[in-house]
């Protein structure tokens, strides 16, 4: 059931089991933030946690904090705390580096597990870094072939006994389309290949069941739905059944079995730490630790219900305004974001509309060539926010305010 008035939205907010979480976040006055799929909002408790890290752990305790404050163990401690959100078990997740770097590690690891096979499959519509890293890896390893498919529906046509690994985006960064993780993983496995899921747009956006789906590897970032801050450390998941035998090429000292023995040769840690490379930025780790405290109070089923209701409301209203929605209507195929396009418009129109919205405090983003993207984060968004955002959108379209030349000026980051 979709709300048809602001009052109905207010009633939904009053009944929302997640409504108490909004006060956990710092939200700027006058802003409706529909960009939490790009950078999640700041949890209040992060302020104190980061302050304590800087002033006390670093300032007062100095190197002693590597042991005392648990800095050294942070990548696995955080990984274990993240695991339940991903449907993973303790010891299967480690927090480190960027998603891009982690894609490199897992791709190379998977290739090494299938020595007779030299093909890597990726989706041409996946987030660009997935494609670029695949390209860079294929250029580094001898004889690796890269095959691209438009999306998972084309997989049956390319999966053969040459394919070692398939890299997939769980939720499409542009359209918000959610893939059937269980079915696709199963398909890939039936062809003897391994699968890596990029969870950037699903971790913290919806319940993820990596182990129930039999997934081999996954990667994702901490700065979107998980709210861990700009450039917070990313994560790697490796199924327990693979950890003991897998090897990855960014084999730095942090992944060594005995890092403080300073041995001349590399021997991997027996556990998930073998996916680590070098020293990790502890400030980002502390921010993730704080944001995960918020997640401990979240019922994922309630999160999903609200997320679908918010996106549904937004899509219906956008369609009423004559915009084209690129996001699937079926709930089981939708992530937590909505993509819109101007029917029969110029590619630049979407960019200008997003800028005009930002000018009115409704923050979404734009993805080239022509997609307006809006993320819905049930922890801090209300139904009335969604309603008000669509009202602003309606006004901008009705008045043509977005046609003002100042909204066409491109920034470095869109």
């Amino acid at each position: 059931m979709t709300a048809t008035s602001r009052n109905e939205c207010a009633a939904l907010d009053a009944a929302d089991p997640l409504s108490g979480l909004r006060t956990e976040f710092v939200l700027p006055e006058g802003v409706i933030y529909l960009d939490g799929n790009s950078l999640g909002a700041l949890p209040r408790r992060t302020l104190d946690r980061v302050h304590r890290l800087i002033e006390h752990e670093w300032g007062q305790r100095l190197i002693r904090s590597w042991n005392e404050a648990g800095w050294w163990d942070l990548p696995t401690v955080l990984g274990d705390r993240l695991a339940p959100l991903l449907g993973a078990s303790p010891g299967e997740v480690v927090v480190c580096d960027s998603t891009s770097v982690n894609i490199f590690k897992t791709l190379a690891a998977a290739l090494r597990m299938r020595p007779g096979r030299r093909a890597v499959v990726a989706e041409s519509g996946s987030f660009p870094t997935d494609l670029y890293i695949t390209e860079g890896l294929a250029g580094t390893l001898d004889g690796v072939e890269r095959r691209l498919v438009a999306d998972a529906r084309e997989l049956p046509g390319v999966l053969d006994d040459e394919v070692a690994v398939v890299l997939l985006n769980h939720v499409d960064y542009r359209t918000g389309r959610l893939q059937d993780m269980a079915a696709v993983t199963d398909l890939v496995h039936r062809h003897g290949a391994l699968v890596i899921w990029d969870l950037c747009h699903s971790a913290g956006a919806l319940p993820v069941e990596l182990n129930a789906c039999g997934v081999d590897f996954a990667v994702g970032c901490g700065y979107k739905y998980l709210n861990a801050g700009p450039g917070s450390p990313a994560f790697v998941f490796c199924a327990a059944r693979h950890i003991g035998s897998v090897r990855q090429p960014l084999s730095g000292w942090w992944g060594h079995a005995e890092p403080f023995a300073f041995e001349p040769g590399y021997a991997p840690d027996p556990g998930i730490r073998r996916f680590l490379t070098g020293s990790q930025p502890v400030v980002g780790g502390a921010a993730l630790a704080a944001s995960l405290e918020v997640w401990e109070r979240v019922d994922m089923a309630a999160l999903r219900t609200k997320s679908l209701a918010l996106t549904d409301l937004f899509m219906r209203r956008a369609e009423e305004l004559g915009l084209e929605t690129l996001t699937p209507r079926e709930p089981e195929r939708r992530g937590s974001q909505v993509a819109l396009r101007v029917r029969d418009g110029d590619p630049g129109d979407g960019y200008a509309i997003v800028q005009a919205l930002i000018d009115r405090g409704v923050i979404g983003d734009f993805r080239a060539p022509d997609v307006m993207r809006f993320g819905f984060t049930p922890l801090y968004l209300r139904y009335v926010d969604v309603w008000d955002a669509t009202e602003a959108l309606a006004d901008i379209l009705r008045t043509g305010a977005w046609r003002d030349g100042k909204y066409a000026v491109r920034n470095a980051v869109t």
Binding site: E55, W66, F104, Y132, D142, P230, V283
Partner: protein, 420 residues
């Protein structure tokens, strides 16, 4: 080099002498620019530099930007931070702007650099590297070599010119650290770079123990590629982002294996094919750790203002004073100085060998003297930016008491910590 003071210091390495030297020390005011805990002697800045007083405010500001500006902060500030911070680090290592990029860990930078360096010499298959380099450098060189089918020849620095000569027609890359991470011995960047170039190889340096400790001139010395960490002498904080230097002449040919979207020529075109950004921007990979990066930016300021030459000159004097104190106070207690006494061959830290190094250090730490241990070596970093002559005297005195009274033999100093 202040040669006069050297002799003067060696005559009488006492507490009074320390106080006198501190009184006339022009860098003494910089100590206040670091939030040092009371009762601590901070001699481990070669592992983790102390907290610069400007950092808490800078991090609070970065968090405020996140909270209030949200994604808008990317355009307003963050997107340009890796290059901006990179250029500032560049100045400290003698690099003109546009050649240094901050980001990722040193280890990731090493992998990227070794592969890219080897690809600058595609017809050559050998990497000659220091056998005493920090382990992560060795592990990642081995890994890169395995992927590219290269042979790694590891030799001690003293044998490196001969090894390069033996492989003169096949050596692609010479990879060395600015200083030995254990002994603190400083290597000769221009001389070794020349050796590499004479053999037609690319010179790659790990400056982790050099940048901020000693003046470096990567441009003038013809260094090809370099990497380094920022949490030691640059005080960027635990795990702060590393950096990579790529000499301008190589940038447009540089073929890096880690091709992330931030290194794309036009990342927000969301194009399907990787097109490396012109210049050093191609050395970016994924989204950088913004909070840590902005902490690092603020941390650089005191060092920039003091000037690396002045810091180095004081570090040398602190080192001389340390050795003078050690000669006088530690005689017969089982310590051996392993760092060269010639200040031109010393980096930023000094190392003493002791058979019970770990227990001695545990006992020292209990007294608030912070150094660290690598194998049987005790390491003490005498960073002229914030370490005083009094600190050095206190540290050596504590060492004497711990060793002379057998205090370190207490069972409570036997416990092994995870991180040493």
């Amino acid at each position: 080099m202040p040669k006069g003071t050297l002799r003067e210091v060696k005559m009488e390495p006492s507490r009074e002498m320390a106080d006198r030297l501190d009184t006339v020390d022009e860098l003494a005011p910089f100590r206040k620019e670091f939030n040092l805990p009371a009762g601590v002697v901070p001699l481990n800045g070669n592992s983790l530099g102390p907290l610069p007083a400007a950092v808490p405010g800078a991090v609070a500001e970065a968090v405020r930007q996140w909270g209030e500006r949200l994604t808008r902060a990317w355009n307003e500030d963050w997107w340009h931070a890796p290059a901006r911070v990179g250029d500032r680090i560049g100045r400290l290592i003698g690099a003109a702007p546009g050649q240094t990029m901050a980001g990722d860990s040193t280890s990731v930078q090493i992998f990227n650099a070794v592969v890219a360096a080897a690809r600058l010499r595609p017809d050559r298959r050998v990497v000659v590297a220091d056998a005493g380099n920090f382990p992560t450098d060795r592990y990642l060189t081995a890994s890169a070599a395995r992927l590219l089918g290269l042979e790694v020849v590891e030799v001690p620095m003293g044998d490196l010119p001969d090894a390069v000569d033996r492989h003169r027609d096949e050596v692609a890359v010479v990879f060395c650290p600015a200083a030995d991470y254990r002994t603190g011995e400083l290597w000769d960047v221009p001389a070794v770079t020349r050796v590499a170039h004479e053999a037609g190889a690319v010179a790659l340096w790990d400056l982790s123990h050099g940048a901020g400790a000693v003046p470096l001139w990567v441009d003038d010395d013809g260094v090809d590629l370099a990497v380094g960490c920022t949490y030691k002498y640059l005080s960027g904080g635990p795990g702060s982002p590393a950096y990579g230097y790529v000499a301008a002449r190589h940038q447009d040919r540089l073929d890096l294996p880690l091709t992330g979207w931030h290194g794309h020529a036009r990342p927000f075109d969301m194009a399907g094919v990787f097109e490396p950004a012109p210049g050093v921007a191609r050395a970016r990979i994924g989204t950088p750790p913004v909070l840590s990066l902005l902490a690092l930016e603020a941390a650089l300021e005191p060092l920039e203002r003091a000037g690396i030459e002045a810091v180095r000159a004081k570090t040398v004097r602190l080192g001389d004073f340390f050795l003078g104190c050690a000669d006088r106070l530690l005689d017969g207690l089982g310590f051996e100085v392993v760092t060269p006494r010639d200040p031109r061959r010393r980096g930023g830290h000094l190392a003493l060998r002791h058979p019970e190094a770990a227990a001695v250090m545990a006992a020292l730490k209990d007294r608030g003297v912070l150094g660290d241990v690598r194998g049987d070596l005790l390491r003490f970093c005498v960073n002229g930016l914030y370490v005083s002559f009094g600190d050095v005297h206190d540290a050596v005195t504590a060492l004497r008491e711990v060793a002379a009274t057998d205090e370190y033999r207490s069972p409570r100093f036997r416990r092994r910590e995870v991180v040493t």
